[in-house]
Amino acid sequence: MIEFHLDSRSGVSPYLQIVHQVRHALRLGLLREGDQLPTVKDVVARLAINPNTVLKAYRELEHTGLVAARPGVGTFVTGSSLADPALAAHGPLRRELRGWIVKARRAGLDEESIEALFRDAVRSARIEGVA
């Protein structure tokens, strides 16, 4: 059984923090197939949060197939793997990004400027996606 904790300063909503913690525990092998997640009652009694917050997190995890609810019993980890198929693509992308960062440094940008430029590029790409 795992235990959830909340960081009130992170700015991440409590429901997403729970989702992330389950995914994290699955990646690290702290949770395996057949393991039960804490009951909604246990989570709210520990964290003093609204029961719907926990239900929402569990529903989202269920929706992605990572857990399954057995009515009246609890919520259990399914066998589905969290191995991200896109993970294989990380290596080459990381190398390209590194090359880009080296170029940016040579052009005289400091770390803060590089981060600002990166964030801005991600943002404008997203806006193009929306528009």
Binding site: L6, A45, N50
Partner: protein, 296 residues
């Protein structure tokens, strides 16, 4: 589904002063609804109207689909913990439970006993000698052992230290997770309620300034910052709640249901506290749909 609380044009006047006016609300059942607002905003007045301790001067109010305190059966459906969790100082913990059992037809003795045992309260101890946190927990026990369909709490954690506050909210949330119940609780601090509420009502100066599901409020409010802008030229779907300008920059807190596509803006999510503060600071006299100010 019947609303836990429904009001229409509800108002309460004390002498020449309106403590609450033009209050129209509908809080769906099954929520933990937070009633926030500065001191003197009318929170206690609204809660006392909801439990039938006082009668409206104007408008109407229905609780769980029925007229407030119309019958003993309606009274039994609502639990109330008043401000500062009043108990009988000279009565023992056990006396309080006996009183609860004698006065409430739907009394759940097993639930009350289990909670007293878990809290580690001495049944023979007089309520007057309990700590603030213990008093609050005993008052909560009495209110929930009544097995209400709506639980109303007026500033339940205001006078508690941080640990007792957390323990109180843990107990309250545990109860809501186990039983089908609607909760309406007030606080002058949003931070106290941020995690426990999924519905929010903001009262200020006797008026409802904002109400809705917390998720929807969070999803529809954004902070925009960018080059200085004339706000009259924003898309009509964007309602400006708060604005500050320097000679070069504009920072806005807006409410909108549409995505923000203007690339000049830097868009950020805002916390519930930011939303509440922005709405509280708003000048309502310039709103076309502003509620008329009564009794000022």
């Amino acid at each position: 589904m019947t609303a836990a609380l429904a009001t229409r044009g509800l108002g309460k006047r004390y002498g020449r002063r309106w403590a609450l006016s033009g209050c129209t609300l509908e809080v769906p059942a099954g929520h933990v609804a937070g009633l926030v607002g500065p001191n003197g905003a009318g929170k206690t007045t609204l809660l006392q109207l909801a439990v039938g301790l006082i009668e409206p001067s104007a408008g109407s109010i229905a609780v769980l689909g029925e007229e407030v305190a119309a019958t003993p059966a309606q009274l039994a459906r609502v639990g109330f913990v008043a401000q500062d969790t009043p108990l009988y100082p000279s009565l023992s913990v056990a006396d309080h439970l006996r009183l609860g059992a004698a006065l409430n037809p739907s009394w759940d003795q097993a639930l009350a006993e289990a909670r007293i045992a878990r809290l580690g309260l001495d049944r023979a101890q007089r309520a007057g000698t309990l700590s603030g946190g213990q008093c609050a927990q005993l008052a909560l026990t009495l209110a929930i052992a009544k097995r209400p369909e709506l639980l109303v709490l007026d500033e339940p954690v205001a006078s508690l230290d941080p640990l007792a506050r957390r323990e109180f909210l843990q107990a309250l949330m545990e109860f809501t997770a186990e039983h089908t119940v609607s909760v309406l609780l007030s606080s002058h601090l949003v931070a106290d309620l941020e995690r426990v509420c999924d519905y929010l009502i903001l009262l200020a100066e006797g008026h409802v300034q904002l109400s809705g599901e917390v998720d929807e409020l969070l999803a529809s409010h954004r902070r925009l910052s960018g080059p200085r802008r004339d706000i009259s030229r924003l898309p009509s779907s964007q309602q400006v709640i708060e604005e500050t300008h320097t000679d070069r920059q504009s920072t806005l807190l807006i409410r909108t249901e549409e995505p923000i596509i203007d690339p000049a803006w830097m868009v950020e999510e805002v916390s519930l506290e930011d939303i509440v503060l922005a709405h509280m600071g708003r000048d309502w006299t310039h709103e076309p749909d502003a509620v008329p100010r009564v009794g000022r």
